[in-house]
């Protein structure tokens, strides 16, 4: 569905007021990957890593400086209009709905922009209204919607024309827990039921953990991970943390098979590999323990390890 080979994007930035210096910023250096039909892939990276730039090249917004892209068999920047009919895009920080018009009017206009036949439009609108619970604010001007309501509207807008491929740039940014969950449920549904291929960028690791099987990680314009989340855990996540609450503050414990990572008053964090039973016994022998707790590495921790190259 998506094939990217040695993709590059350079921006020329001019700095300074009088003597303007040219700087070349390589937003995307050399990125290659392939996404098959029906996949739901997370695209992750710190700010400025090149995530959005990649998405913008895949959707035909930006023209690549080098490399090759094929999306649904088309070259995005050359076949932009044709491609636009077959993909949906939602940018969490951009508004594509008409600000002063009721939500429903925006959908109507989009129907004509995309030339969606009336019966198909009615059917998909009815479905999205149900899944995303749009009915209570369908006739409210977009400017009066809450962020959560607006995002649900934006998602509907991106899906009304029945795209095979959906690009999402930070779809859950700024949403509360309930709203996030609703968006995630929706994405899972369109992916499983309709077979829509989804590529989403996010900062929210919860999105990744709950939605994606596969993860691409980009940093400084290059892909540093492409694989299943389960593999990621095996590779980077075999160290666990034992959180120990002692009776009173103590110097870092010295126990075999673990190292103290952090001390905060009577609480200490010990990193270890392997089974926890022996270690807890050793810790109990070494100090007066009040409470014990084992923390699995979360995806956030794993990603931090990837970024720092550990």
């Amino acid at each position: 569905m998506i094939e990217v080979e040695h993709l590059q994007k350079r921006f020329v930035v001019r700095r300074g007021r009088l003597r303007r210096e040219r700087h070349v910023v390589e937003a995307v250096r050399d990125v290659s990957f392939r996404i098959d039909r029906g996949e739901l892939v997370g695209y992750l990276g710190p700010n400025g890593a090149g995530k959005s730039t990649t998405i913008k090249m895949l959707t035909g917004i930006l023209v690549p400086s080098g490399g090759r892209i094929s999306v649904a068999g088309m070259e995005p920047s050359r076949q932009r209009v044709e491609l636009a009919r077959r993909i949906g895009a939602m940018f969490g920080q951009r508004i594509q709905l008409w600000w002063d018009l009721p939500l429903l009017d925006s959908f109507e206009l989009l129907r004509h922009i995309y030339r969606v036949p009336a019966d198909r439009y009615r059917a998909s609108l009815a479905r999205f209204c149900e899944v995303l619970e749009l009915d209570p604010f369908l006739h409210t001007p977009v400017r009066q919607l809450s962020l959560g309501q607006r995002i649900r509207g934006e998602l509907t807008a991106a899906m009304l024309h029945g795209p095979e491929l959906l690009f999402l740039d930070e779809p859950t940014i700024g949403l509360d827990v309930v709203a996030k969950q609703r968006v995630r449920d929706f994405l899972v549904e369109i992916n499983r039921q309709d077979g829509v291929t989804v590529l989403l960028t996010t900062h929210d690791l919860g999105d990744i953990e709950r939605l994606c099987e596969r993860l691409l990680v980009i940093d400084h314009g290059s892909l540093i991970w492409d694989g299943r989340i389960a593999e990621l855990r095996v590779r980077y996540g075999d160290e666990r943390t034992l959180v120990v609450d002692l009776e009173e503050p103590a110097p870092p414990l010295r126990v075999e098979g673990a190292r103290v990572e952090r001390v905060e008053g009577p609480r200490q964090w010990l990193r270890f590999r392997g089974p926890a039973a022996e270690l807890t016994a050793r810790v109990a022998a070494a100090a007066q323990v009040v409470d014990l707790q084992i923390a699995e590495p979360d995806i956030e921790e794993i990603v931090r390890r990837i970024y720092t190259g550990k």
């Binding site: 921006f11 917004i61 930006l62 023209v63 009919r85 940018f91 951009r94 508004i95 004509h112 922009i113």
Partner: protein, 267 residues
Amino acid sequence: MVDAVLLWRRLVGAQVRSQVQYRGSFALELVGAFVIAFLDFVAVLVIFHNTPRLAEWTVQEVAFLYALSSITFAFTDLLIGHLDLFPRLIRDGNFDILLVRPRGTLFQVIASDFQLRRLGKAAQGVLVLVYALSALEIHWTAPRVVVLLASIPAGVLIFSAVWVVFASLAFWTTDSGEFTNAFTYGGNFLAQYPIDIYGAWLRRLLAYLIPLAFVCYFPALYVLGKQDPLGLPRVLQFLSPAVALAVAVVAGCVWRFAVRHYRSAGG
């Protein structure tokens, strides 16, 4: 094409409905646009209060030229005046949204707004035209009527093309608003007066490079049956529609080229 016009009507219709919702403020804006435009014409009358003629032109003839330019510009403003705000669309990166839709980007920018209050300015132009036509004794012939009627759509196209070309600069500079205004609003101002009152370089600029002289100067010469004070070829007086199409094509190409240099905005 028909499909595009229907879609334009739909998109613009939605905008207009939301404007007219606030009836009181809409009426005030309409009247305001008319009054500002009217005062603008008073400036022309002030000039003629001091001098009976401007080069070879009487006050009625200048009024005719002025009206033609005003009407043309008012319609242009109505259709695409919101290109003024285009640099902001670029700077905020919201142009992204238009690029992921299956329609031409220029079409979408044009259809994104429609300020009905600008009709106030057109109304002033029509009034001045009525005054000029009743004061001048024009010998009407079929070709003159055709040239007059054709000059308005041709002029709208020329003004629009100039506007689009300068708006395209926003793809590189991201903030070319004032510079663009100099050529759009400034262009309207220049076109309101006979070009023979300007210096030679400005005249050449208007006749050949930014062809604003074709908006009303050349058609007006023909309709008024005036000798061209500059002695330029008579055929130029019929060329406005052709020139309009040519500059529209150029503007379309410039836009296309510019869009490929779009850099979007952070995020």
